[in-house]
Symmetry: C3
Subunit: 155 residues, 3 copies
């Protein structure tokens, strides 16, 4: 059974590990900045705020990604998760810059999260239809999702 | 295997998705309020605080709900999760009101979380008894839990 | 299937429950302290800060522990999780004391988290090697990990 499970979650685990590495990187950046400037300057303040926003969204992101991976299919969910990590990195770096290149508050990576959310909903609908209805559309939907996840790359 | 797993987690995923929607709703409310009042008024401050408290409890809630769903049975866990979301909504709305209708700090939805926690403990005890002991009480316990979860509706 | 799953996650669930209890304990301590001193003293401030740091790391910790438990083996992951909880408790108590016995900011329990992270990486590498390569080293690695997890006890 163990190998079967591993096959289903293996990419999701990889993305999760990457996100953990990124968290550690963010925490270290904040730590370093706090030590460099002993007083609370505006720059440090903004860095702490960016880290806070990222951390606030983190459980939501993990929950949505894993659900999407279980309900529909693994590869697109992991790919979307990767894109989210890239978006988060851009957001954090943008906050560090002098000029305000950052997007406002909580809403970064919104599109990726919506996509993952949609995947969950489709997966559940499909399961209900498959149980109480007659046919399974899972194959078709998975093909469409895989195509759609590449469309996320468009700016 | 995939369909078997889906059958076990399907309600839990639904509640998780609902909670994600609620998170997005909270974040948007805070975002909107911050933009409306540029200065930091007391109302905005309180909204941010309510959101913070909700977010702090969120990983704990998810962990307890999923564990309860896995260890004992899915339907009562999902139902209790739903009740928790309702309690959280009331809490957040209460914080937004002028008068202090809100419960203090971290302790909202305490009863629901305790119930979920108890479900986990019972599930684990039952597993240990089933492995090292002789009989399985799981059937009885599941019936009792399902009855108990409706009792949570009492105020 | 249910019992097979329970066998794989049963220790992880136990550690998760313990961590939830600890969270509740921390929250209650903060609550009590806030009520005792109505004004915001330095002690309360520091307690809130310690709680915040713990809560920020919590989703990361859960994600890494569960992944390590799934990818490699359950017992060492749960044991390392337990050690992390002890470290966190020490950290929190240290923050409460008058003198500054606490470690700086986000970096407590770093060694335990690194160990769990490493377990995940090894587990995934092992899976990839097992799929595309020829042999499985899982048995050897599990033995080594179990030995290594006791080494974490060294200060």
């Amino acid at each position: 059974m163990d190998d079967l499970v591993m096959e289903c979650i293996f990419l999701l685990v990889l993305v999760t590990l990457l996100s953990v590495l990124q968290n550690a990187f963010f925490a270290q950046k904040v730590e370093k900045e706090c030590k460099a400037h002993n007083s609370k300057t505006a720059a440090v303040e903004r860095l702490v705020c960016a880290n806070r926003n990222c951390m606030d969204m983190y459980p939501t992101f993990l929950a949505v990604m894993w659900c999407a991976g279980f309900c529909l299919s693994q590869a697109p969910a992991a790919f979307a998760g990767l894109l989210y990590l890239v978006a988060r990195h851009k957001y954090f770096i943008g906050y560090m810059g002098q000029t305000s290149q950052s997007t406002p508050g909580f809403l970064f990576g919104k599109r990726v999260l919506s996509f993952l959310f949609l995947m969950c909903v489709i997966g559940i609908l499909n399961y209900i239809l498959g149980t109480y209805g007659s046919k399974e559309y899972k194959e078709y939907i998975q093909t469409i999702t895989k195509a759609a996840s590449t469309l996320l790359l468009l700016p």
